[in-house]
Amino acid sequence: MSEIGLMLLRMAVWLGLAPLLPGLINKVKAAVAGRRGPPVLQLYYDLARLWRKGVVLSTLASPGFVFGPAVAWLAVVAAAALLPLGPLGAVAGFRGDVVLMIYLLALARFATAWSAMETGSAFEGMGAAREVSFAVLAEAAVIAGVLALCVQSGRLTLADMLGESAGPGAALLGAGLFVVLLAENCRVPFDDPNTHLELTMVHEVMVLDHSGPLLAAVLHGAAVKLLFFAVLLVQAVLPMGHWPAGTALAALAGGVLLVTVGVGLVEALLARVAFRRVPLLLTSAWVLCVFALLVAWKGGGR
């Protein structure tokens, strides 16, 4: 296959398969609760419906209201482009791309918070404040985890770094990154995606005033972010670089599926923690990643 074709395939995997994950999570939740649940492809239908609709714009909002979701979507997709898909490879990669990846995720968060505050709604400002304050701790955990991978493999490129496994600290890193995945994607112990009460929402309240294609961009970006963290988690734990391409691809797909089912089970079986306990949970995730870093540094680091 030509290089261009491979490039398009990678982008198609990121953009096309991402909306499957929320559908799977909802299916798992429904199965645990004994319901039939919405179809797995529900998010695709929603996105198509939202795309055809018009946008309601507040007279107060500046153009930032429209730019925010667009910038956030682009930043998340760009971060996904840097992350290799196992043997398929990354859309783009260079020395030190891991730093850019972290900054792109931060940019996406900034853009979402910015557009949330554009309408001047008190609820949205509150949601943005929560999202950002959770993110401070979650980001520290991501940085510690990525640093552990760097130290373990002795490389600075995501593709090389993730080819190796996290070594003996893989379990620690996997647990830490899973908690980060739940926090970053606003899943259950941190935020309830199904809540109908604005006062308790975190992520949902930030996008209350977005409609039509803007909301579609927000939803699709969230799905890509979920897939992004699932792929990152699976590749950080498994030593995929040493396996034949077919096995690695199957392992990646199976791992992402497992993580998705895990998120669904967590969501079905756990209650959301109180806001004041969230910092403790995120600090624990950070400590797990720091200990993975310590293990990588003490043993097996090159």
């Binding site: 910092p279 600090t283 720091v290 200990f291």
Partner: protein, 214 residues
């Protein structure tokens, strides 16, 4: 063998942090119990020419004492005195956790500079011991209730036990069993005292124990 031992010590270090972050007394007591069981298994894993009956006796006594007897005494004291299950930290959970994590990191780094014998330097025993002692201190100083302070004392003792494992070949069995007996009696006495404190003060807050009376 060293690999398995290091994994066990690593789990003990992790349990230290669970003890620091846990918000309920039964969780704290069970964490310390699991830690005790792991410590009891360690002498069997440590490399030795022939596993003799003394070693097995120490292991069985430690598992039974630290893993079953002491936790059941503490859980009984908790039940009898009808104590509220919340831990009530003086030092919040996040600062305790961060302090404990920092202490564990410092223990691992500092051990590099200690003049240890080659076979000891390869294991995590010394950093694990230092980290457990530090965790014990944090629990002793940072918690209000008498029962959580007992747990802090037990974690501290677990750290000292880890240090003792370095000298496993040369410590007489009598010393080991003496320490274990002391700890058990201590916890037994504390179990009674906890009941008395609760009856006298309607609370287990040790900050109230400031006045001496006849």
């Amino acid at each position: 063998m060293t690999g398995l031992l290091n994994v066990l010590v690593g789990v003990v270090m992790g349990l230290n942090l669970v003890a620091l972050a846990g918000g309920r007394l039964p969780l704290l007591i069970r964490t310390v119990a699991v830690q005790g069981v792991l410590l009891g298994l360690m002498p069997l894993i440590l490399e030795h020419e022939s596993p003799d009956w003394k070693l097995a006796a120490v292991a069985v006594a430690t598992v039974a004492g630290k893993g079953l007897l002491i936790p059941s005494l503490l859980l009984r004291a908790l039940r009898v005195a009808r104590i509220d299950r919340e831990v009530e930290p003086l030092l919040g959970f996040v600062p305790s956790l961060l302090l404990g994590a920092l202490g564990t990191l410092a223990a691992v780094v500092l051990t590099e500079f200690l003049p240890l014998r080659a076979e000891h330097a390869a294991t995590l025993l010394v950093p694990g011991a230092l980290a457990s002692v530090l965790t014990g201190f944090i629990l002793l100083a940072g918690r209000v209730k008498a029962l959580s302070q007992v747990c802090g004392y037990l974690v501290l003792e677990n750290g000292i036990y880890l240090f003792g494992l370095l000298l496993l070949g040369s410590t007489p069995l009598l010393v080991e069993s003496g320490i274990l007996l002391d700890v058990t009696v201590g916890v037994f006495v504390i179990g009674i005292i906890v009941d008395r404190i609760q009856r006298t003060f309607d609370s287990l807050d040790t900050r109230r124990l400031t006045v001496l009376r006849e």
